[in-house]
Subunit: 312 residues, 2 copies
């Protein structure tokens, strides 16, 4: 299990290489939700998403020998770009296995940060098979996008900053997919102040974590047909037990509600965020009674959106 | 002429009702321009633009009798919404004469803030005729969007904040249309530190201020066929002399360059801004030698963009 000390050490390690992202508030969203919202803006983070936190932590822990062997991963885009940035700083190279339906902006971000791309089919087995072949061929070191304690510890630093800025939160809502961000959030928040509720928000169209949590065992996604291109992964064997132990609730959200919440944040806050994190606002709007009159932190995980493919 | 004291008094008057907007920096835009940029984010301002500064200053100076008579104005949208917000707080009502080609989001902003809309043709004479009829009919008090010293003083507070946050700027670039923001910027900056250069950025497709400045007398727009819906107005008789006296340069920018700069800011900074202010970045990109190695403030004047009508 990832401890608070692990997260604090991760924070010391990555702090020189990341932004301290702002926490925004917005009166009109508060009026709409009946809650007081605090939006942790990881869309303004380096590489365009929170993924730089975990990736940097993992890469800083690699030996020079491991860097020299080359690093490989699978990614829906943001982890690939972040890992490429972190490895490039150490003078190494990264190969990223990406599904063919990745938004162009995420492909460009990987390339701009020096990553090499190998395409796969947009499903779990093709991802893992392609990555396995790469590792066999090149003896590359794998830094998994979420199922890795170094990644979990790094991602936990976002909620740590949020609680430092806003210590009186009643609740934090995190996007949920492979579980890296949510499990990191749980490991930091529940150890800092276990009165703070932590809730995951997952697309109905890729709800493996919600169903796994209900059943008490990992089950696969039935579909990954969601606009949230960052939330199509499968819950991990390392992240799932953390979620099982600590999470207070998981809310699933429809595609229409995710898109409506995305547009609302763009129009009211004048910031660009991905649907993969507007899902947190959609969860609050869908379950207003749970959040009424509470101080609620939303982790806006990223801002890498293809401006030619907007969903409205 | 608007003095520094006028601007400081305006600031004392409006401070409770406006946001102190952040100044953002971005490494990749610095690399691209060869300058060090400081972006004053009035897109995050209340009502979605800097216009709330001048409107609030003017409205706070109205007597209760004037408020009771009703307030009228013409506006391409942002001034109308800001004025509606400021007047509503004092319990009055506003009628806004708006051109029929106003983006829907700006129409909605006026309505949401309680303003009544009267439509006109998208040209100066129709605007003025419609407003004149309104005033004759209702004895309404006019608060002009820019040709008014109370407005100029209010708009000057944005650059005052920017210089307070970043006192070592070499240069500030402001959008230029009717001249309220640029003349306010000039009145504050040139009185605070006349070493700071101030440059206006105007669309080639609505370049009346540039041509007037070159000729030494006010001439009308030949076209207003620009995507910058906030920059289609005619330079004012109050704002023009201030610009003549103080401005260091006016740079005109093509539509394609305005759109490219807008997209660049959206993608790199993850913030939503109007083309009417991406023109400032476009001006820097067009004239890199002027700005090379300088610290340059850009006033990002607003963020009210119709998300269904993006120019790419």
């Amino acid at each position: 299990m990832v401890t608070l000390i692990d997260i604090q050490h991760a924070y010391d390690r990555i702090r020189p290489y990341i932004h301290r992202t702002p926490v925004l508030t917005n009166r009109s969203l508060n009026d709409l939700t009946g809650a007081e919202l605090f939006l942790k803006c990881e869309n303004f983070q380096r590489s365009g998403s929170f993924k730089i936190r975990g990736a940097t932590n993992a890469v800083e822990l690699l030996s020079q020998d491991e860097i020299d062997r080359g690093v490989a991963t699978t990614s829906s885009g943001n982890h690939g770009a972040a890992l490429s940035m972190a490895v490039a700083r150490r003078g190494g190279s990264v190969t990223v296995v990406m599904p063919q339906n990745t938004p162009i902006i995420k492909v460009e971000n990987v390339k701009r940060n020096g990553g090499n791309i190998v395409w796969c089919e947009p499903n779990l087995s093709s991802r893992e098979k392609t990555l396995g072949e790469l590792v066999n061929l090149n003896d590359a070191v794998v830094v998994h996008p979420y199922n890795d304690e170094r990644i979990v510890a790094g991602q936990g630093t976002a909620a740590m900053e949020l609680l430092e800025d806003q210590p009186d939160l009643d609740c934090i809502v995190s996007p949920l997919s492979g579980g890296g961000l949510l499990s990191g959030t749980l490991c930091s928040v529940k150890n800092l102040n276990n009165q703070v509720r932590v809730i995951g928000a997952e697309p109905m169209e890729a709800d493996d974590a919600f169903r796994s949590w209900k059943l008490g065992k990992i089950v696969p996604n039935k579909t990954t047909d969601t606009i949230c291109d960052g939330l199509r992964a499968q819950i991990g064997t390392i992240t799932f037990p953390i979620i099982q132990e600590y999470v207070d609730d998981i809310i699933t959200v429809s595609e229409n509600d995710i898109i409506a919440a995305m547009r609302m944040i763009w129009e009211r806050l004048k910031i660009i965020i991905e649907p993969s994190c507007s899902i947190t606002l959609a969860a609050v709007l869908n379950q207003k009674t749970i959040f009424k009159d509470s101080k609620v932190g939303l982790i806006l995980s990223g801002g890498n959106v293809d401006l030619d493919q907007l969903p409205w």
